[in-house]
């Protein structure tokens, strides 16, 4: 294969997840998967297709519908030297397991004075736009980023799925790996061999000079769309894909804002108390004198996710809304 052929290898976001897991399981026998329907059924959205056939029932475990015990299983196995990947189907179900995640997994190392480590990855699917209603559509990353001891990852493309999943599973801390349901079928460049995208490193997806647009997950593609519209209006947008939300790459954000003097943060999660608030706070602490305008924030309105497409389409932030906020920041409108 020539270098050009290799560089155009494309995979869907969902297939990149499955392929990566298969490769990691082949190289590390301590890695196992547990969750509802992950075995013969291949997991929700097919994320674990074929893995049980390949690795057997002890390494791809179909569990009862018991989210709390699933995360507990992972926590106990991790403390005992294994490297579990536990699946919680929908991010909304993370809430059912919150005690095991927040009171147990996240804190054990600290509470035990460093005498253990917890190499567990919790995988799940977030995001609205499928008329899945208020209990199957949430983006709850801010809740998790608030918890010391947890790492939180939200990839936007197949390449980063591979690099971040590899880094997450090899990491000795509990990591919540959040896919976006509407990205699962999206194809993009993805290398074949395993590699790591270091946790805590953002990427500049589109360089620009006039305004920094900080985003992650599915809002990356919406932000890039907004950026190309704005380019035609003479606004040169730099798009930063955070990739990891905890730890947060404030260095990349601050350095960018020091150049562009404007910043907007865009996420699908509810705006109030969302990651945008945290990022805006960091910027005013570290780059106050560089700012020409307040930091803009794009996020969902303050309501549960509505079922009907008529309201859900109003609810989920999009390129047009992001572009409006960027214009407002750059032109000091409204």
């Amino acid at each position: 294969m020539t270098a050009t052929e290799a560089s155009v290898r494309e995979l869907t976001y969902g297939a990149a997840f499955t392929e990566t897991l298969r490769q990691i399981m082949a190289e590390d026998h301590d890695v196992f998967v547990a969750g509802e329907d992950v075995g013969a059924a291949g997991g929700v959205f097919g994320s674990f297709t074929g893995l049980q056939r390949e690795f057997g029932e002890m390494r791809v475990v179909d569990t009862p519908i018991s989210e709390q015990a699933i995360v507990g299983l992972g926590t106990g196995a991790a403390v005992s030297g294994l490297r579990p990947v536990v699946d919680l189907m929908f991010m909304d179900f993370v809430l059912v397991a919150m005690d095991q995640i927040v009171n147990q997994a996240a804190k054990l190392k600290y509470m035990f004075g460093g005498n253990t480590s917890l190499p567990m990855t919790i995988t799940t699917n977030a995001g609205a736009g499928l008329s899945a209603a208020a209990q199957h559509s949430q983006s709850l990353e801010a809740l998790l980023c608030h918890i010391p001891g947890l790492k939180v990852v939200m990839p936007s493309n197949a390449h980063d799925v591979k690099g971040l999943l590899t880094a997450s599973i090899r990491d000795d801390n509990p990591v919540v790996f959040v896919k976006h349901k509407r990205l699962l079928g999206q194809k993009s460049y993805c290398p074949e061999d395993l590699f790591e995208v270091p946790l805590g490193s953002a990427s500049i997806t589109r360089p620009g000079n006039d305004v920094t647009l900080v985003t992650y997950g599915r809002m990356v593609s919406e932000s890039l769309k907004a950026a190309s519209v704005l380019a035609s209006e003479g606004i040169d947008v730099e798009v930063i894909d955070l990739r990891t939300l905890q730890p947060l790459d404030t260095e990349t954000i601050v350095a960018s804002v020091q150049r562009t003097n404007h910043c907007v943060v865009a996420h699908e999660a509810v705006r109030f108390g969302g990651l945008g608030a945290e990022i805006a706070a960091h910027i005013q602490e570290q780059a106050f004198d560089y700012l020409d305008a307040p930091v803009g924030r794009v996020g969902a309105p303050f309501s549960p996710v509505p079922f009907t497409p008529a309201l859900e389409s109003e609810y989920v932030p999009d390129a047009a809304g992001i572009a409006d906020d960027v214009r407002a920041a750059v032109l000091r409108l409204g």
Partner: protein, 326 residues
């Protein structure tokens, strides 16, 4: 409660309403005329019908992600249901809930639920309110076999037992949680074995026999109404269609032979054979029920299709109660 001819006719009517509603909803869903997720109740009609026929309007019903049948059996309005499933403003939840959250608080149907096991503690809370008010109202909660593996079930049933609440726990054991066989997820042969661990009486009934369900429910409800505490019913049943939607896509998890065996015991056909044998209804009577119900369902579909979507301004309404509900 006695099994009179009137009761049999009523049970039949409830079951046919569920079946015809679900078949129509499934067709709309397969035809991409209905958004979101839809979990059909076809095959399990005898459970909701048999239980709800023993209830009064004020008795509460807790439900699941597979909740349409519970609402239809409690007397739900087919038009408002269909409109909700289509996301229309005229639906029960004004389009905000859809299939997984459909409810009718006037009928004391406390809502379908997107979280497996999520409805069980809520129903126990309703039972508590009944006892608190010294009323003889009963709370019934439906849940799947899979739901009995989740903590919320165990905490709630123990609470109901400890506080001796007027609750009836109805397990719809269709032998699968999504695509995983029940036997791979629990160590007991019958789900009802779990009731004993909480000091609650339990029975197993043939969930395809609506009369058996009705009799068991009548006893359990009478116990609760009489202040004798909670009971547990395990109804052995089967869903004729896929976990979600109608057709099984992707991995096949049940054999054709197994599905056919259960379909041979279609709960509606079984009851109709009985109605004919007992001379309670003629073939023409039965046919007339189907025709009438189908007309109602067709009208519900038309109502749903013609109804408007909610206005964008509805998005931020009802996040909070403003000014109180009293």
């Amino acid at each position: 409660m006695e099994i009179t001819a009137e009761v049999l006719v009523d049970l039949h009517h409830r079951m046919v309403r569920i079946r015809r509603f679900e078949e129509a909803a499934g067709a709309l869903f397969e035809n991409s005329e209905m958004p979101g997720f839809i979990h059909l109740y076809v095959g399990e009609e005898a459970v909701a019908a048999g239980v709800c026929a023993t209830l009064r309007n004020d008795d509460q019903v807790g439900s699941t992600h597979r909740g349409h049948g519970h609402l239809v059996a409690k007397g739900g309005d087919l038009s408002r249901m269909m409109a909700e499933l289509m996301g229309k403003a005229t639906g029960y939840n004004h389009g905000k809930g859809g299939s997984m959250h459909i409810c009718d608080l006037d009928l004391n149907m406390l809502g379908a639920n997107g979280i497996v096991g999520g409805g069980i503690p809520i129903a126990v809370g309703a039972a508590f309110a009944n006892k608190y008010r010294k009323s003889d109202t009963v709370a019934v909660v439906f849940f799947g076999d899979g739901a009995t593996n989740i903590g919320a079930f165990h905490e709630a049933i123990n609470m109901a037992s400890a506080l001796q609440l007027p609750a009836v726990f109805v397990c719809e054991n269709n032998e699968y949680g999504e695509f995983t066989p029940r036997r791979d997820t629990m160590g007991v042969d019958d789900v009802v074995d779990r009731a004993a661990g909480y000091g609650i009486p339990g029975v197993v009934v043939d969930g395809m026999d609506v009369v058996a369900v009705f009799e068991a429910a009548a006893q359990a409800v009478a116990r609760a109404r009489g202040g004798q505490g909670p009971s547990f019913i395990e109804a052995k049943t089967y869903r004729f269609y896929n976990h979600h939607g109608v057709q099984t896509l992707g991995v096949k998890y049940r054999s054709d032979e197994e599905v056919a065996r259960w379909r041979e015991r279609d709960p509606i056909v079984l009851l109709e054979e009985r109605l004919l044998a007992l001379d309670v209804m003629t073939a023409e009577d039965i046919e007339a029920v189907h025709r009438q119900v189908q007309a109602d369902v067709d009208a519900a579909v038309a109502f749903g299709k013609e109804s408007p979507y909610p206005e964008p301004s509805a998005l931020l309404e009802d996040v909070y109660t403003v000014g109180g509900v009293r």
